[in-house]
């Protein structure tokens, strides 16, 4: 069952603190560092990319999980926060990714307790099987708000 796949991106320096990113799946955009790291506001940054990679991957895995767990998903929105630690030697590391998904699902004939338990299992599976979440060394915390619509 172990198989490999590769994904690629290409970056090119545009001068000063600017770069241009071409993603393997098509999109391209300029990027910089965040303003607190001598970059620019309003553009894509590596920090955003890291947090977004985990956030988008967990969401896509959760969508898949809701299908496998036969949940009627009404909406999903997740703000995820990455915490950066600046070490004594001035190296930096993301120590934590804190996911706060707000999930609305239809009861669809089941009791709220049964549906909520299934949503939580789907979330656990989403984290477990998310390629990116599975690849990062940051601590991952998931704090969901689950709303069951009758």
């Amino acid at each position: 069952m172990s198989r490999t796949a590769t994904y690629h991106t290409t970056v090119r320096w545009k001068g000063k603190h600017w770069g241009h990113l071409v993603m393997g799946n098509g999109p391209e955009m300029d990027f910089s560092a965040p303003p607190d790291a001598q970059g620019h506001a309003g553009v894509f940054t590596p920090e955003d990319a890291y947090v977004a990679a985990a956030n988008t991957c967990v969401m896509m895995m959760f969508i898949w999980a809701t299908e496998r767990f036969k949940l009627k998903l009404l909406s999903y929105e997740c703000r995820t926060e990455g915490t950066k630690l600046i070490e004594l030697d001035r190296t930096e590391v993301f120590t934590r990714l804190h996911f706060r998904p707000v999930i609305r699902v239809a009861a669809d004939g089941d009791t709220p307790a049964v549906v909520e338990a299934r949503v939580r299992r789907a979330l656990q599976s989403a984290q477990k099987y998310s390629l990116v979440a599975n690849s990062v060394k940051s601590e991952i915390v998931v704090e969901p708000e689950i709303v069951i619509e009758q």
């Binding site: 172990s2 198989r3 299992r121 599976s125 477990k128």
Partner: protein, 153 residues
């Protein structure tokens, strides 16, 4: 609590309970001796549950279903796959694990214990059981299967 044989393939540890017999496709059969009438509890192995991932649903044939050896007795829906499971013994389903409806994840957590699937009133346990693998033989077969999976990369 059963004792286990254990083997490591790549980074994965697989356990095989020593108190039961096995079909090579990863279904175990445990003769419930205390009931004295040839009832056999069946479930899936640690290897099979790890191979297929988190269980979302399991559909076991209802009580009263008559089974021949290799008849499908359950369908497992996991996060990654839908898998048919085949009976290692002939007989009639006399019990289905009632906990599977609300907590199918017990198959992942305790495949040899609380995650059992069904009890079969066996019609020919002596003959059916003789065709199954003992724990050591299953461990070897399972290890070969796991190594084959790894070669697919």
């Amino acid at each position: 609590m059963p004792e286990y044989l254990e083997t490591t393939v790549d980074k994965f540890i697989f356990r095989v309970a020593t108190d039961r017999l096995y079909a090579s496709d990863g279904v175990w059969a445990f003769w419930v001796e205390s009931q004295g009438n040839g009832q056999v509890r069946i479930g899936l192995t640690d290897y099979l549950q790890q191979l297929n991932g988190d269980v979302a649903f399991v559909h076991v044939k209802p009580v009263g279903t008559k089974l021949a050896v290799e008849d499908e007795f359950a369908e497992l829906e996991t996060i990654k796959a839908t898998v048919s499971l085949f009976s290692p013994v002939s007989g009639t389903v006399v019990a289905v694990n009632p906990d599977l409806d609300l907590s199918p994840e017990i198959i992942n957590h305790e495949p040899y214990g609380k995650g059992w699937l069904a009890v079969i009133e066996a019609t020919n346990w002596q003959s059916d059981g003789a065709k199954l693998l003992d724990p050591q033989a299953y461990l070897s077969a399972m290890r070969s299967q796991a190594e084959e999976e790894l070669k697919k990369q």
